[in-house]
């Protein structure tokens, strides 16, 4: 009887059996890499804004404190985007005729808010509260990165759950004293783990079991 398959079928069969393992591993790896990539999380991608507001200039250059504009960060779950009036505190006096700032003045005249593009947007099923993090000693920089070096704002982190859990599992690695909450480029005076553990007990931070309980963030 004639052969149904050519002799090469043997090699193809063996290759496909062994190859399947590598193909499956590669597909799994590729999927995971894509999932974590900046392409998916949009981390490190500067976002277009209606006015090219530079944190690098205002924070890094002029030394404004974060809380000058984001006033509600210590008392509210939401660190507010400042109203136009906050901009006009200074810009009614300096650069008051700059064409670049015309949208700010227009907003002030008409009362229409400037429609900033939101950069840090957590999913709706996550309950996140800025005030508790600030009160317990998590600095702005810990999550938002070196804002004083960002001409346009970008996400410093993936905002994926394993990133949240990094700190919730080991809070002592990031805690800092209240005096340095808004400091950019903070260097701990001493051993961070030691300071962190001391702050944990001073600030009554609960252990990782409570911090990583599902209902701590998903309510």
């Amino acid at each position: 009887m004639a052969q149904i398959f050519p002799k090469s079928a043997n090699a193809i069969a063996r290759m496909s059996v062994y190859g399947a393992i590598f193909v499956l591993i590669f597909v799994g790896w590729a999927f995971d890499a894509l999932n974590r990539s900046a392409y998916n999380t949009r981390a490190f991608m500067a976002r277009e804004q209606p006015i090219p507001f530079s944190h690098a200039h205002h924070v890094g250059g002029l030394g404004l404190d974060c809380r000058y504009c984001h006033t509600s960060v210590e008392s509210s779950s939401f660190a507010n985007v400042p109203p136009t009036k906050t901009c006009m505190n200074c810009h009614s006096q300096i650069w008051s005729t700059s064409p670049m700032l015309e949208p700010v003045r227009a907003s002030f005249r008409t009362g229409q808010s400037i429609r900033w593009t939101r950069v840090h947007d957590l999913p709706d099923f996550v309950y996140f509260n800025h005030s508790i993090h600030v009160a317990k000693g998590v600095g702005c920089e810990s999550c938002h990165g070196r804002v004083d070096k960002m001409p346009l704002m970008w996400q410093h982190a993936s905002l994926q759950m394993d990133w949240c859990l990094d700190c919730h599992r080991n809070p002592e690695k990031v805690l800092r004293p209240q005096a340095f909450i808004t400091t950019m480029g903070y260097q701990p005076a001493g051993d961070q783990e030691e300071i962190g553990r001391r702050l944990m007990s001073e600030n009554h931070i609960q252990d990782a079991r409570v911090l990583t309980s599902c209902s701590t963030c998903h309510r």
Partner: protein, 462 residues
């Protein structure tokens, strides 16, 4: 090649597992002709069409489910498991007989299994496929099923390994994998036979690829024997472990009526009970439609009937032990749970299950019942219904009335509950009759070893 008129099948003597007069070639002719040469009987079209229509109902039910959510089912607090988990346990139990026949009876050298193991293993696979549907659909968001698996993920978490529901995932997926491998390895020599016999070039290519170069050389047979024994060794503990893990879904919880230590053996016996009922329900029509009484003899049916009787008694013992435990344990809630079962809103189901699972199979004591295919068929259907009721009873009645009367509630099955359940029966029949049409439903080479000619004496070997 002989067609079926020429195959002379004498009625086998009682107690024989193969009719006299068969030769190596007539066995091969008769089994392969079902797939290759014989006209497809009307029965096949009817059964396949029936299964196919129910499968369409299943697709409709799943579509509606995905569009609207699990609320289309009758699952409401407190009975959140309802039909879905009942059907899951029922189907996965049915699968167990196939593994028992193929693995345990192989290791125990029960040669009568050779004639029924192939389609019993196919039954296992398709039953596991049906079973798997329910936990997946019951999740509500089945497309996230892979969250049940431990894999490196961006959420930074693992499944809860202390939950029996996670053990279920591993138990059932292992079971499905080993069953598939066992079935496929066992098919290879027969796929080689079909490849060599078919005249259809496409069929030849497909059977050829699936046979993976089987030539039947001595080396192939030696490797085959080793592989089968290893797989049988792997599958044997699975017969016991899979349903044990399924029973943990219940026993780990503290719900009255669930929290018992004897659930694992009770569930395994029930699984084999319902599985053999399904084997009979499939074998009896198949052998009469395809004229296979010479291969699946009355002795096979008799043996299956005896296993049903034995496992039925284990199940009956478990029911009694359950009641005894509730009484002897002195736990008010446990006692109330069983009192509710017998007299409460589900009393009809409870007493029907006693009638189906304990009373009806007692007829199997009689040789005349076990030698009548029609009566055996009826008995097996009754047992299948009874075993479904048993799972329904355990799940629904225990959840409906637990500790606090203020949280009691009655489960009302909706039409979508029924549509999904009947739909998986359709899926099962559809797959099974596809298998009957495309693959040899009886293992050709294993049945050939039952012939007296196949027994090689020591002198002959030398």
């Amino acid at each position: 090649m002989a067609d079926d008129q020429q195959i002379v099948v004498e009625k086998p003597a009682p107690g024989e597992i193969i009719a006299p007069g068969y030769t190596f070639s007539t066995i091969t002719d008769q089994i392969s002709s079902v797939v290759l040469t014989r006209k497809t009987p009307l029965f096949w079209f009817a059964a396949f069409g029936f299964g196919g229509s129910l499968l369409m109902l299943f697709l409709l039910a799943v579509t509606v489910l995905l569009a609207k959510g699990v609320g289309i089912w009758g699952i409401r607090t407190p009975v959140m498991w309802g039909f879905a988990i009942t059907n899951f346990v029922w189907w996965i139990g049915i699968g167990h007989a196939g593994t028992l026949i193929s693995a345990i009876l192989l290791l125990l050298n029960q040669s009568w299994r050779n004639s029924i193991n192939r389609f019993a293993e196919a039954m296992t696979l398709f039953a596991v496929a049906c079973a798997g549907m329910f936990p997946l659909l019951h999740m509500g968001r089945p497309w996230l099923f892979y969250w049940m698996m431990p894999y490196p993920n961006t959420m930074g978490i693992e499944p809860q390994f202390r939950s029996p529901l996670v053990w279920d995932v591993f138990a059932v997926s292992t079971y499905a994998t080993v069953s598939l491998l066992f079935w496929f390895v066992g098919l290879m020599p027969d796929l080689g036979t079909l490849r060599d016999r078919t005249k259809n070039p496409i069929g030849r290519a497909i059977y050829g690829i699936l046979a993976m170069g089987w030539r039947g050389s001595a080396r192939h047979w030696s490797v085959y024997e080793t592989a089968t024994l290893l797989l049988a060794g792997l599958a044997t503990p699975l017969v016991l472990s899979v349903h044990t893990v399924v029973s943990f879904d219940f026993t780990i919880a503290i719900v009255p009526g669930w929290h018992s230590t004897f659930f694992p053996p009770y569930f395994v016996a029930g699984a084999i009970y319902s599985g053999f009922a399904m084997v009979l329900a499939l074998a009896i029509p198949l052998r009469s439609v395809y004229g296979l009484q010479g291969l699946i003899t009355d002795k096979h049916l008799d043996n299956c009937g005896k296993i049903m009787l034995a496992t039925g008694w284990i199940v009956a013992y478990a029911y009694m032990l359950e009641l005894f435990g509730a009484w002897y344990g002195g736990n008010t809630y446990e006692q109330a749970a069983f009192w509710h079962r017998m007299t409460g809103p589900y009393a009809i189901q409870y007493w029907s299950l006693v009638a189906c699972n304990i009373v009806a199979p007692q007829f199997l004591w009689f040789k005349r019942v076990r030698s009548s295919p029609v009566l055996l068929f009826i008995a097996s259907i009754v047992v299948l219904v009874g075993m479904w009721l048993e799972r329904f009873m355990i799940i629904v009645s225990s959840l409906a009335q637990d500790f606090l009367p203020s949280s009691w509630g009655i489960f009302q099955a909706t039409r979508w509950d029924w549509a999904t359940y009947l739909g998986t029966i359709g899926l099962f029949l559809f797959l099974f009759f596809l298998f009957v049409r495309a693959l040899p439903m009886i293992s050709i080479f294993e049945v050939r070893t039952l012939l007296p000619q196949a027994k090689v004496s020591k002198e002959g070997k030398r």
